[in-house]
Amino acid sequence: MKPRLLIYFTLGFPDDQFLVKLIRDMPDGLVDGLELGLPSADPRYDGPKIRLTHIAAKSRELERFDPVLRVCGERGIRVNILSYYSDFENNERNILSFLSRHSVHEIIVPDLLIDYADIADPFLKKLQSAGISYIPFFNAATPDRVIEKYMRSTNSWIYYGLQPSTGINMPLDIQSVVERATSLLRGRDIIFGFGIRNGQDAARIIEAGGHGIAIATALIDDINRHDADSVVHKIEEYRRAIDFVV
């Protein structure tokens, strides 16, 4: 199967118009999906660059983001939403109706299994009854029994973080991390994210058996400069890198 390329944007950063334009003008088939982050008051597992996008996004009124979601729908780009549980908690109804309004059926909640493990089960039930699929967010620190448990309660693909937080670049043996993840999560598609620095890293992930990559921090500077061409150019590089492998 063709390796998948996911791109992350924080909603509201740098502004809604830029994101709408960027997505609208994106070449056909360049990305396999978008991961859209709801701006958070406490993006604790994000590195300084993405942290900045949350701060910059300021407002958390979800209606503001409708145009971005709409253009995704128009272009047929698959979307999932990322929300910290700390935000979801206080804004549950709005978020759920935002998802349903845009027919988004997938959500990533990066802090759920870490800081809210004890209420994760009722939360997942709630998502289920709202028809939303929970995409487990795992990383190298996720214990086996946690992985086993959430593999049983969902049949979604998996988002796997390579680094302890986004954007930072710790020394990493990509091969061994990816191999461990794919062997633990046999039978599931795994998209790797967090700290992919360049096409080489991306290719190595696919070579090691990963099913796709997610890119975020690498694009922030260009987005911040409203430089859509450059963003697309970078995305194309990643695309080539992973397609080349197969």
Binding site: R44, Y45, G47, P48, R51, L52, I55, L113, I114, D115, A117, A140, A141, T142, P143, D144, R145, V146, Q163, P164, S165, G167, I168, N169, M170, P171, L172, D173, S176, V177, R180
Partner: protein, 416 residues
């Protein structure tokens, strides 16, 4: 130790508990909004160490070079049945102790100092920097540096620097450059000395100075506890113990160790975590991090240069009373250990000075070993346990993290 049969006891891999934790470990947290103190680690820690820190492989292969050094410094350390103590306590079960004091530097600290220094040396570093409170970590660092042909610099908490000339001397024999902290060699130290030129120092301050110094000079910093990779290295204690018990057809019912930053306890106990053994983590009554601390994010160092960790803590600015067991004065405890105490898998226990000293006397008089005062806490818990139910048939295994030959003054405190 050092026997032909050492290979039977020495593990080939260190064990990282993280994949076996009941819940996911919270990652370290940046302290500031727009810079990454996590990325700062890259500047002061060897790359290979960070790779270990964040990849959380259950089994981490021990490089051959480190294995050779482990053997040179006295691994495997003995696991001894404390028959004389059992008799003295009329305890019907068995008491074993794992004796980390048998390493050449006299404590478990060398178990992580060796790989850290080795990784640094492999990156071409010429000098490593660290802090020391009780002196054990500085000693281990100094030898590990010497064995890897590097210089070492040790910021030694001022009170210890004054009270423990022998410790300073050993570090110097191993070639270390030892300075009293707070010192005039860092901005942070200068600032503190300016406020109080007789400041007694603290581990948090000394860490801050060492980190600042390493950053400034482009050297690597050596961390003696708390970090997960350190605990992984220390797993050699528990892995050996497991094998040693196995070879004797024994099984641990209760495992006891003392907690400063948590490295000796975790290294000792974690390889048994999936089993049924009861576990007791003993802290000093004067530094009751588990029983009176808060479980949440807090700083590793006083200056807040390093990231925050989610752990039990009494606060990074906690100023501990001048207790005899310098190694137990740290305000926090390693995240994985904190989680397991929080979850109830590991029980925490505080013991006070008098109980510790009389436990140490009892132990020395029956087993001959003069334990480190830190380890004395674990012994006190073990004795307490055995006395509660002398008819019990349980096998108690206690970790003695170091010897106390250079801390003998503590016994005078306990004199009636």
């Amino acid at each position: 130790m050092y026997q032909t049969k050492e290979q039977e006891i020495l593990p080939e891999y260190w064990y990282n508990v993280v994949p076996d934790l009941p819940e996911q470990l919270s990652p370290p947290k940046d302290s500031s909004r727009d810079s990454s103190s996590i990325e700062l680690l890259k500047q002061i820690l060897p790359e290979k160490l960070l790779e270990q820190e964040f990849s959380f492989r259950r089994n981490e292969r021990i490089p051959d070079e480190i294995m050779d050094l482990y053997i040179q410094i006295g691994r495997p350390t003995p696991l001894v049945r404390a028959r004389n103590l059992e008799k003295k306590l009329s305890y019907s079960g068995k008491i074993f102790f794992k004796y980390e004091g048998a390493t050449v530097t006299g404590s478990h600290k060398i178990n992580t100092a060796l790989p850290q220094a080795y990784y640094a040396a492999n990156e071409g570093v010429e000098e490593v920097v660290t802090e020391t409170g009780a002196g054990q970590w500085g000693t281990a660092t100094a030898l590990a540096a010497s064995l890897n042909s590097m210089r070492s610099k040790v910021f030694m908490v001022s009170t210890s620097y004054k009270q423990k000339p022998l410790r300073k001397q050993i570090m110097e024999i191993y070639g270390a450059n030892v300075v009293s902290s707070p010192s005039n060699e860092t901005d942070f130290g200068k600032k503190i000395l300016k406020e109080n030129k007789d400041h007694p120092g603290s581990l948090g301050i000394a860490i801050s100075e060492a980190v600042e110094y390493a950053l400034e000079k482009g050297y690597k910093y050596m961390l003696g506890s708390v970090m997960n990779s350190v605990i992984t290295h220390q797993s050699i204690i528990g892995l050996e113990t497991k094998k040693q018990l196995e070879l004797q057809g024994e099984e641990a019912d209760v495992m006891i160790g003392c907690v400063g930053g948590g490295s000796n306890f975790s290294g000792f106990a974690f390889p048994f975590i999936s089993g049924k053994a009861e576990m007791i983590a003993t802290t000093a009554e004067e530094v009751p991090k588990f029983t009176h601390g808060k479980f949440g994010y807090d700083f590793i160092d006083t200056a807040g240069i390093l990231p925050q960790l989610k752990m039990f803590s009494l606060g990074a600015d906690f100023v501990p009373p001048g207790i005899y067991a310098g190694g137990l004065r740290y305000h926090g405890a390693a995240p994985a250990l904190s989680m397991l105490v929080h979850s109830g898998r590991i029980r925490a226990e505080d013991v006070g000075e008098n109980e510790v000293i009389s436990a140490m006397r009892l132990f020395s008089g029956t087993q001959g070993i003069i334990p480190a005062p830190e380890s004395g806490h674990a012994i006190a818990s073990a004795i307490r346990y055995a006395r509660q139910d002398p008819a019990s048939k349980k096998t108690i295994v206690v970790n003695i993290s170091g010897h106390g030959l250079l801390d003998l003054s503590i016994f005078s405190r306990g004199k009636q």
